[in-house]
């Protein structure tokens, strides 16, 4: 990645609600022009973090920098940051034009400039013909577009989006993903996007921060997060995986050799392993091959369940007393079809597995 300036720096930020700590010492930076996603299960503190960037909530400890300036103490209406609220929060008593003009008026723009900008924004979200409507005369998807137009109109330094797609139906959600990506590229504004939908995050983001239990668990590009999870939480939360308990027998740099119930010593990339001792091996279902597709050192197992999914077939295979989920792309012919009870060879390339500390 080329060297870019950070739009937002979160430095040692904690947030306490009474006795409850919603965020523990969070540290990271969001780069300029980046589509950055905060991903994590419900209650992990995503909204809290976003609200602190917007200025609706102040950190209990730590600082937040916006383009290098400390904004920890500046009120929400002085921050050059705009928000797309989860339920849009459009002003029901104003027309769509008035909604979009609201921020510009508060910034003291002159009338002509405001009118031009409102027109431009309506056009950008393909809503020009609805300018004079009130928000309650719109569908969910249309409201979403107006909320985006309203937040983008003042040209904020950062745009915050809190689960903006969660209120839409499945089909609309898919097309809005592309729309959001397009808007981000066109405007060049840094987007900070909150979701608990991993597919959404993997599809849209330049980088993802996976959050769990009030901590940032890992930050990286979507493929990094998926292929090289740094801990058990991330491996478990993103996609599906098999965890095999085992004992680390040796550690060498970034790699560890682990002995699991499969009875094979596997040397794979590791993180969080200090030295010999208990650890887990994580291997994704689609990285395991059966019979002809088995790579590396193989061993035998027996198929105990089979679910045909069209493009893929999901199997549960029992081997050495552990059951593994295995997912295979279906071949073009129905040759080599496996059934419940069949004996198979299974194996995987060590570079696709991860050894993770406890």
């Amino acid at each position: 990645m080329q060297k870019r300036l950070s739009a937002i720096e979160i430095i040692g930020v904690s947030k306490q609600f009474g006795d409850f700590t919603a965020l523990h010492q969070v540290d990271f930076r969001i780069l300029q022009n980046e589509f950055f996603t905060l991903l994590g299960p419900s209650g992990c503190g995503k909204t809290t973090l976003l609200r602190m960037i917007a200025g609706f909530e102040s950190p209990s400890r730590g600082t937040i920098l916006l383009n290098g300036k400390d904004i920890s103490d500046s009120p929400a209406h002085k921050r050059r940051v705009n928000t797309v609220f989860q339920n849009y929060a459009l002003f029901p008593h104003m027309t769509l034009s008035q909604n979009i003009a609201f921020g510009l008026e508060n910034l003291g723009w002159e009338r002509g400039k405001i009118r031009a900008r409102v027109g431009e924004m309506l056009e950008m979200v393909h809503m020009s013909q609805f300018a004079a409507r009130k928000p309650d005369q719109l569908s969910g998807g249309q409201r979403q577009r107006i909320a985006l137009a309203r937040a983008l109109a003042p040209g904020p330094e950062v745009l915050l989006l809190d689960e903006p797609l969660s209120a839409l139906d499945l089909k609309l959600r898919q097309s809005m993903r592309d729309e959001l990506r397009r808007l981000q590229r066109e405007t060049g504004i840094t987007f900070v996007f909150v979701t608990h939908d991993q597919e959404e995050a993997l599809d849209m983001s330049d980088r993802i921060a996976v959050m769990g239990n009030g901590h940032v668990q890992q930050i990286g590009a979507p493929d990094e997060i998926y292929e090289a999870p740094q801990n058990r939480f991330v491996a478990d939360f993103i996609g599906e995986t098999n965890f095999l308990d085992g004992e680390v027998v040796s550690v060498e740099g970034g790699h560890a050799t682990i002995r699991t119930a499969l009875g094979i010593d596997i040397t794979a990339a590791q993180s969080g392993v200090q030295g010999p001792g208990p650890a887990v091996l994580s291997i994704r279902p689609e990285k395991i091959g059966l019979d002809a597709r088995a790579e590396g050192e193989t061993r035998s197992g027996r198929i105990v369940s089979r679910n045909y999914m069209g493009g893929f077939t999901h199997y549960t295979v029992e081997a050495g007393g552990v059951s593994l989920r295995v997912s295979q792309r279906n071949a073009q012919s129905r040759q080599g079809r496996l059934d419940v009870g069949d004996e198979v060879r299974l194996g995987f390339a060590a570079e696709n597995a991860r050894v993770l500390g406890q």
Binding site: F56, N82, F85, F91, G103, N106, K134, A151, P154
Partner: protein, 291 residues
Amino acid sequence: MSKGFRIWGLVPAWALMLLTLILPIFIVAGVSVGERGAYGGFEWSFDLTAYRQILFTLGWTDELEFDPKYLIIIARTLGYAAGATAISLLLALPVAYWISLQSARDKALLIYLVTLPFWVSMIVRVYAWLIILGNDGMAETVYRFFGGSDVPGFLFTPGAMLVGMVYSYIPLMILPVYAAVEKLDPALIEASHDLYGSRWTALRRVIIPLASPGLVGGSILVFVPCLGTVLEPMLLGGGRQLMMGTLIQNQFGGARDWPFGAAIAMVLLVLVVLVLILNARRATRQLEVQA
């Protein structure tokens, strides 16, 4: 609901309305066109003297002279009622908004506290202000404490009357205003801050427009009883400035001019109905705009 119930089931309600509202209005209207009895009371007839009396007095030679004295009383009543309504509105909005931000349990408690004065008789409450504002009362003590040497005398002033009226009726303002602000989505206020609006902008452009049904409702609930209020002008205003309520009371009491008292009461009624009609027109217009 069956048709039978809709007709017969409502009979008690209609009977009650008839007996306690419609009939009395007709009686008062009847009295207002009656003739003044020789020793108080009145006699039925159709005579508009009482209404003429509002605008004109009879001169020495029986000619009619325009006399604005009662018009001034009506205008003064309207003025005080409007003043008390405006002050109530200004005080109630922040109070109601603040209550709406509290936890559910505190909200219930605070709303209960707002209505608490209603559990005490009106006369007692107004007397309480008499003591607070009176000679060597709390108000004077506080004034002296902060270095005021010659006490201006708070009682029997327009200010004292307004204080009493606002105090008596402000719960009727707080409740509907609270009901309106309580329904506001907090995200809308955050959105207005997010879009560079100060607190003042949020109040002016988001909170007030969206809470306006409650603001108007509360204003009517305060304005209407203020028009007819009797106790505050008499006890706190010292009866120095005559208001419509006191005037009506005097006519039925000391002055023994029932028809004139009834005529003033009818004027008051017309004023109230006017306010309600104006509000109904505004409300339907708003509905039409929304539709």
